[in-house]
């Protein structure tokens, strides 16, 4: 009865949002439900029948969750996830309330919110990928998050299996404080060859996903086969085309993901000759402090720029341009435009003339946006909001 009430409330809220065109408002129903029923996640009948997988960590949450969901669906299971990246409590509650009951729930969870979610939900698998410096002004130091995780795991009971990156020394204390079983994945790159994904960091995401999937009973061979046509999560290596220009979007929200993606660009023959567009915002989801751009490896930053046109945009475009300057890269003043629409207009124009002169296929732009910048860019290129 109570579950019916909660789900109805969530669906009515979403209905009203749609009716009055208040945007996609994906997390609003969750906010409202949490306000009225703070313990909603403890209602067992709300949770999927076969169990829940939670994925947390600084980098790789979205891709790893999507990998697991992709294979489970191909195996004929129904799944619920917070696919639009709304990884705070309200996003997870929304996903559970707005969908019909499914076999599995696969959720990415914000590092900071994880202890709160673990108070209510005992996942079958808890994947902890990594912890690196991210949004100091919002999260505090990584040690603070690690302490919160240890606290939550020490108090945690339930038949959960912990899945951890064996190559992360920071996480090595966690199995000791956790009473249940821990499994480890590593950085072996064999699986990469079976997929369309690139970069050593994605090898880890694949290994983590495979460990969970085989644990859930999916045969290893079937899982690997199912991964072969996996396309990148949005903003994580996906390609969008507009006005004869192809944009390859590599989310770069902290020094680690920046360094990872810079290595991918420098090493990818297919991206030779593409332009580079950096977009740096300082909105709340990004963290308001952009100091971290000086933690990007200067040598890695300089390497992919050689022989490419560089553009810089976002609310902190000038900070990024100065950062590039101190890596020895001079960005022409006219290529630094905070307004995203304006810089895209300029780039469409340039790519079209480039196309005429070389008469090759669409001009390619590699984009390195941080979080809100990635959402904004997708909206401009696809023409609708996703969050």
């Amino acid at each position: 009865m109570r579950l019916f009430l909660i789900k109805t409330l969530a669906k009515v809220t979403q209905g009203l949002i749609n009716l009055f065109s208040l945007g996609t408002g994906y997390t609003w129903p969750g906010h409202l439900v949490l306000k009225l029923f703070p313990n909603v996640l403890a209602v067992p009948s709300l949770l999927p029948a076969h169990g829940v997988v939670l994925v947390s960590g600084t980098n790789g949450k979205t891709t790893t969750s999507k990998l697991i969901t992709h294979v489970l669906r191909k195996q004929g299971f129904t799944t619920i996830s917070n696919e639009s990246g709304s990884n705070l409590a309200a996003g997870i509650v929304s996903a559970l309330c707005l969908n019909n009951k499914s076999d599995y729930g696969v959720f990415e969870v914000d590092e900071f919110v994880l202890p709160y979610v673990l108070k209510y939900v005992a996942p079958a698998y808890l994947v902890l990928l990594n912890l690196s410096r991210d949004q100091l002004d919002r999260y505090g130091e990584t040690d603070t998050i690690l302490d919160r995780w240890k606290d939550a795991l020490a108090r945690f009971f339930g038949s959960t299996t912990l899945v951890l990156d064996a190559t992360q020394p920071k996480l090595s204390d966690l199995p000791q404080v956790f009473k249940g079983v821990s499994l480890f994945f590593n950085d072996d790159t064999t699986l990469l060859e079976h997929t369309l994904l690139k970069g050593d960091f994605n090898a880890k995401n694949l290994n983590a996903a495979l460990l969970v999937l085989t644990g859930l009973g999916v045969p290893e061979e079937a899982a690997i086969k199912a991964l072969s046509d996996f396309s990148a999560a949005w903003g994580r290596g996906e390609t969008l085309e507009k006005n004869g220009t192809r944009f390859r979007i590599l989310l770069t929200k902290n020094p680690t993901s920046f360094n990872n993606n810079l290595s991918v660009i420098a090493g990818d023959e297919n991206l030779r000759g593409s332009s580079l567009l950096f977009i740096l915002n300082d909105n709340i989801p990004d963290g308001r402090d952009v100091s971290w751009i000086y933690d990007i490896d200067t040598k890695l930053l300089a390497a992919p720029v050689e022989g490419r046109s560089v553009y810089v945009s976002g609310t902190r475009a000038f900070d990024m341009a100065v950062r590039l300057n101190y890596a020895g890269i001079t960005v022409p003043r006219d290529n630094v435009i905070p307004n995203l629409n304006s810089i895209l207009e300029k780039m469409y124009g340039q790519s079209i003339s480039a196309k005429v002169s070389t008469s090759t296929a669409a001009a390619e732009v590699v984009v390195l946006p941080n979080y809100s910048a990635m959402l904004e860019l997708r909206e401009k290129l696809i023409g609708r909001k996703i969050l």
């Binding site: 100091l136 002004d137 100091s291 000086y294 101190y326 003043r333 630094v336």
Partner: protein, 261 residues
């Protein structure tokens, strides 16, 4: 013969919170553009540093760090480095000390439960953490440099005048003693303690500040001032240096002035 800038970097691996090392890169980058020879002396936890290496240092940098790192270096700092730091600073040699480093060079740090941690004691200041009764000082900052610095003939004349910008993130609040001179007067942000309008300290040729991370990135006049002080440059030698194109940095600085706290 080229001028030499030897940058001493205290605890480069541990005290590097959120882009602090950017300051060292920026100093080196600018000094090389000025055709100076740049060398580095990293000073870390592992034992005593050869005094010959320390004697070479002309510009000392020490950044902030996560609490765990500050705990990790504290004993070493007080036991093995305090003497050197006192001599270095009292001799009027140049240094930039940010956030946690700035606090540790003061007399003491009183934490939220009232226990006292002694500092190096070379700066006339103390820091107090008021626990949950006062919020952390976080946000964009701007300030006006002390006239004493701004009117120094070696201080570069730029379109930025006496303005500095940055970002602060600190739990402790710092109070300057009678004899201490603030680095700047805060116009946006909390500065030393969100009460008396002061920000940082200037003592001889040492500069302490709460403007954290890559403080020098958008304050090129301060970066050059440190380089000129450290190399003993004079008006005449400065005039002969190549002119750097900082126009983009000026735009970034001006844009920062307009950011919300």
């Amino acid at each position: 013969m080229n001028m030499v800038l030897n940058i001493g970097y205290l605890y480069p691996d541990l005290l590097n919170l959120y882009g602090d090392n950017g300051n060292v890169e920026i100093l080196a980058y600018r000094a090389r553009k000025y055709e100076m020879d740049v060398t580095f002396t990293n000073i870390d936890l592992t034992g005593a540093v050869a005094s010959a290496d320390l004697a070479k240092v002309t510009l000392l940098f020490m950044g902030g760090g996560p609490d765990s790192s500050q705990r990790a270096i504290y004993q070493d700092l007080i036991k093995n480095k305090a003497g050197f730091l006192q001599d270095y600073i009292l001799a009027g040699k140049t240094g930039l000390y940010i956030c946690g480093a700035y606090q540790m060079l003061g007399k003491y740090y009183k934490d939220a439960v009232g226990s006292i941690l002694n500092g190096v004691g070379v700066f006339d200041l103390y820091t107090e953490h008021f626990g949950k009764s006062k919020p952390r000082c976080i946000g964009n900052t701007s300030a006006t440099l002390n006239t004493m610095i701004f009117q120094d003939p070696v201080f570069p004349k730029t379109p930025l005048g006496n303005q500095i910008v940055g970002f602060e993130n600190h739990g402790g609040r710092t109070f300057l003693g009678e004899s201490a001179v603030p680095l700047a007067k805060i116009s946006k942000g909390h500065g030393n303690n969100s009460k008396d309008g002061t920000e940082g300290i200037v003592y001889k040729n040492s500069f302490g500040t709460y403007f954290h991370g890559p403080f020098l990135s958008k304050n090129p006049h301060v970066a050059d001032y440190l380089i000129f002080k450290a190399t003993g440059s004079t008006g005449d030698t400065i005039k002969k240096l190549p002119v750097l194109d900082d126009s983009l940095i000026y735009v970034a600085h001006t844009a920062s002035q307009k950011l919300k706290q």
